[in-house]
Amino acid sequence: MNESDNDRQLAVEEQLAAEELDAGDFTLLNSLRAHYDEHDPVPDGLVERLQFQITLDALNTEVATLTQLDLAAAGARSATTEAVRTITFTSESLTTMVTLTPLGDGTVRVDGWAAPGAGIRVEVLLADGPRNTYADDDGRFVFEAVPSGLAKFALYVRHDTEFSTVLSPTIEL
């Protein structure tokens, strides 16, 4: 492209740029939108994940991540396995360790220890509702016979006058 062509192109571009938006532009923008929607769509579940994060944030919730999973009899779990498992999960304010001992009757004994966790309230969230207990002065807590199944732990940590909630990942009891 020589220089005068270039100038002409620029002049046309400038003129086009100064015109009001017309139907052709809206059609073009609609095509762009359809194009991006098709080829780079918003990922499935993104809206729900963002909403969930916002809810947790509103509750002052810290989501603890699993840091350790000791299986006494890894790979050999069945309904009758008497495997004792120890699970550790960590968040900003707490580290929590729970030892799960199957009692052989479809229930599990949970021995937990949260640090720093003196006197905090601990909840185990089960399919049929939550159960509550309080940690002792050393941060230890016990749930005697919890039905096995999926569960989460919620620990309520005091910061002066406010509480924050530490939520564990889902754990199979």
């Binding site: 809206f26 991006y36 993104l46 963002l50």
Partner: protein, 195 residues
């Protein structure tokens, strides 16, 4: 879009939800997320972030909005605020990603690598394909602007152009340079037969 009536647009819908949220209706924040996720997603992706990073950016931006919601004086400005924040956060993160190269900033070539390389998957419809090719040849700033405003409504264009740091007159009452460039390119392309 003349006349003095309040035009319904993405920014005004977002503004209403945000105002209701700040007045104590917390569920409205979830609605706001639903309404604005597409435009913010494309704002983040226009900065060439991969999918997982773009998600993180959106999460950061929404949590920041909650913390700073009192600092937004005019609820209708919430869309603009979110687009600016998403763009800034996305560029900040992109700078730290090793695959980001400065030449992407003003790249006008069509072979620049594009996140998940969308153009590789686009080889079906000839018109669609040529539209894509011309989009890829636009300056980076134009590509971002057009991508973002394609997910908004006409009354929002000028505000969004400003939010994206484009000079005045980029788009709004007038067509602006980015759309002019694209239309010229398409007009000169015999394979473009949309109209």
């Amino acid at each position: 879009m003349t006349g003095g009536t309040v035009e319904d647009s993405l920014a005004s819908r977002a503004g209403r939800l945000f105002a209701e949220y700040r007045d104590g209706d917390h569920a409205k924040l979830g609605d706001l997320v639903r309404v604005l996720t597409p435009i913010l997603w494309h704002t983040a992706r226009a900065a060439r972030l991969d999918s997982a990073t773009a998600e993180d950016v959106l999460q950061t931006v929404w949590l920041t909005l909650i913390r700073k919601s009192d600092t937004i004086t005019e609820p209708r400005a919430v869309l603009q605020w979110l687009v600016i924040s998403t763009k800034r956060e996305a560029w900040k993160v992109a700078k730290n990603q090793t695959r980001f190269r400065p030449e992407h900033l003003e790249s006008t070539t069509s072979d620049a690598d594009y996140g998940d390389s969308i153009e590789d998957t686009v080889l079906r419809d000839e018109s669609d394909n040529s539209l894509w090719r011309h989009i890829e040849r636009l300056p980076e700033r134009c590509r971002m602007l057009l991508r973002v405003i394609a997910f908004a409504d006409r009354p929002d264009y000028a505000e969004l152009a400003r939010a994206l740091g484009m000079p005045q007159g980029s788009i709004g009452p007038t067509r602006g340079r980015c759309l002019a460039k694209l239309r010229m390119a398409l007009a000169q392309d015999p394979t473009w037969e949309h109209r």
